[in-house]
Every structure is written in C-alpha cells, then in structure tokens.
C-alpha cells in the first residue's frame, strides 16, 4: 500500500516539467550533484572535527562543548545545502529512486543518524559539565560519536550506490530485495 502511494507520488513528480528539465539538462544535473558531493567537505568535515573531539582524538586542550557549539552553524549550513541539492537529485529521477534499495537504506540510515544526533545532544547537555574539559570524553559519549561517524559513512556509501543498477527492480532478485526495494512496477526505471 505504502509502496503504491510512494510510486504514485514519484510519478506525479516525474510528470512535472522541472523534473524532466533537470534530468535532461546538459549541465544542471551534474552541477547539483557536484554541489551535493562537495558540500560533504563542509557538513561531514565539520562533523568529523566534532566527532573526533568527542572521541578524544583532536583538540584535547579545548572544551568539547566549545567545539560542538562553534562548529554547529557551518555544519548546519552544509547540511541544509545537502538537503536541498539531495531533494533536487531525487526530484530529477523520482521513479527509479523511489524503488531503489540503496535509496531506502540511505533514508533509514539518515533517520537513524538524526535520532543518534538528537540523543547525543541531549546526553551531552545533561552531562557535559562533568567532562567538558577532559581530553578524552567518557565511554558513552565516545560510542555515540563512533556511531555517528559509522552511520554517516553508511549514508555516503548508500548515496553513492544509488547510481548502480545492481539491484534495480527489473533484475532477478531474491524476494527479500524486491520487498525491501518496494518494487511495485518492475519496469518503471527502464527508459
């Protein structure tokens, strides 16, 4: 049911002339994609600095909360750019992407990374007084930071593999993959 609905939404997006314009453009799609990838340096770059601090691997002489607060804004700027360009990439190729196993895993990982970040922030605000100045934060903080990096690494690789057609719906796949990719129309992605 949900899959039918999602595919319907994708078909509706696909029928819009802007979607076709981006998809068939000579450069626009590549530029959006390049912006999406290059913004990794801003968003993930800042996240790396913050998470490495939480792992005790960088800036041992600067309070953890200072690093997190000072880099929050540039990180969020990067995140917003990634979100907008990411949506445009989806908008340009909605039908295939909707039935993409990788895209679905990516969305799940994104949600997981979001929840992790939210919990992490709450945990940090509640306890940072006791360890803020420690070069190496306590274990639960380090686990949260490692989890954050692992989840975002997952987002990066699943984002990359959306472009591969290994497990597209029209291929012969194990039933489980059909189910996970939400294949409703097996031929939808074919030209």
């Amino acid at each position: 049911m949900l899959n039918e609905l999602l595919l319907k939404l994708a078909r509706w997006l696909d029928s819009q002339s802007w979607s076709t314009s981006i998809h068939e453009s000579i450069y626009l799609y590549s530029w959006i994609e390049t912006t999406h990838v290059l913004t990794l340096m801003v968003f993930l770059g800042m996240l790396f600095v913050i998470d490495l601090r939480m792992l005790g691997a960088i800036f041992p002489n600067v309070p953890a909360s200072t690093i997190a607060q000072r880099l929050d804004k540039p990180m969020m700027i990067g995140f917003v750019v990634m979100l907008i360009t990411g949506f445009l990439l989806y908008y340009a190729i909605p039908v295939r992407t909707t039935q993409s196993l990788w895209f679905r895993i990516k969305v799940v990982l994104l949600i997981a990374a979001g929840i992790n970040a939210f919990l992490f922030r709450a945990k940090m605000q509640a306890s940072s007084d006791s360890w803020d100045l420690d070069p190496v934060p306590p274990k639960r903080i380090r686990i949260g930071a490692a989890l954050s990096l692992a989840l975002w690494a997952g987002v990066v690789i699943t984002g990359r593999t959306i472009a591969y057609d290994w497990f597209d719906c029209h291929k012969q796949l194990p039933y489980f993959m059909y189910w996970a990719a939400g294949c409703v129309d097996e031929m939808a992605a074919l030209p």
């Binding site: 990838v37 990794l40 340096m41 770059g45 800042m46 996240l47 600095v49 490495l52 000072r70 990066v156």
Partner: protein, 158 residues
C-alpha cells in the same frame, strides 16, 4: 617525463583486476575516498575559516591550526591510497583525461603549499604575521582544495 608506463602498468596490475571485476569493492573504496575528502575538507576549512576570523574566534588560531595537522595527514593518506585503487579501474582512460591532469596538478600544488609554505609559516606566532598574509593563505588553501575536489568529481562527467 612521460608517465604513460605507470598507467599502462596500473591498468593490468592486481589492483585493476580487483577494481574492474568487483563493483562492490570499488564502491566501498570510493566511500573511503569520499570520507577522506570530507575529513580533509573539514580540517582545511576549520583552519582557514579561523584564519579568516569566521569561526572559533575565541580559540587561538595557533591552537586550531596545530590540531588540524594530524588529521589532515591521515585524510591525505586515505585519499591517495583509495584514489590509486580507483584510478586502476580506468587507468588508460585517465591518462587521456584533461580534468584528471588538472586535478593532479592542483593536488601537487596543494601538497607543496601545505607542507612547504602554510605549515612552516604558521608555526610562527600568528600575531607577528601580517593579517593580509594570513587571509591570503586561507583563501589560497580553500581555493586549491576546492579545485582538487571539484575537478575530481568532474573526471567522472567528462
């Protein structure tokens, strides 16, 4: 100096056997390449934005620069190793790709800039360096690494 023999060798090396045959391995290596780029970008940006007085103004710029060195090195090593693996899949094609050479040139410039100029100069007390020089350093650094990354992405399109 013609590097063709190197690309010719790379094209038939063990690395190429793996990178051409296993798309999954290639994708994982590419993930490390992208993570390395992000890490390098983060270290460069944090340092440069500090030199431009945009972020972390309450932390001395010497401290910021000092701390980013190690992870910059780590990122560069990850990027180069994963990059060689990735290029083995299309070695001969790359040899004739202008963007690839533009990227290699800017990468070489970046490495020289970081290890021969930016680092040695920033070892001195930043207060004794002209503010204009510091700002020029930061702008140059951002420009070079942005060019390396952007031309790298563009290899795939050209």
């Amino acid at each position: 100096m013609d590097l063709y023999p190197f690309f010719d060798w790379l094209d038939t090396s063990l690395l190429a056997d793996i990178s051409k045959a296993y798309g999954g391995v290639f994708a994982v290596v590419q993930m490390f390449h992208l993570l390395g780029i992000s890490m390098l970008g983060g270290m460069v940006l944090v340092g440069d934005l500090r030199l431009l007085n945009i972020v972390m103004r309450d932390i001395p710029s010497e401290v910021v620069i000092e701390n980013t060195h190690k992870w910059f090195n780590v990122a560069l090593v990850i990027i180069v190793i994963s990059g060689i693996f990735m290029s083995s899949a299309v070695a001969l094609k790359l040899y004739y790709n202008t963007m690839f050479w533009a990227k290699m040139a800017s990468l070489a410039a970046g490495v020289v800039f970081v290890y021969a100029i930016r680092r040695p100069l920033l070892k001195f007390d930043h207060a004794t360096i002209k503010p204009t020089t510091l700002r020029m350093l930061a702008i140059t650094s951002i420009l070079i690494w942005f060019t390396v990354a952007a031309s790298g992405r563009w290899i795939g399109f050209s």
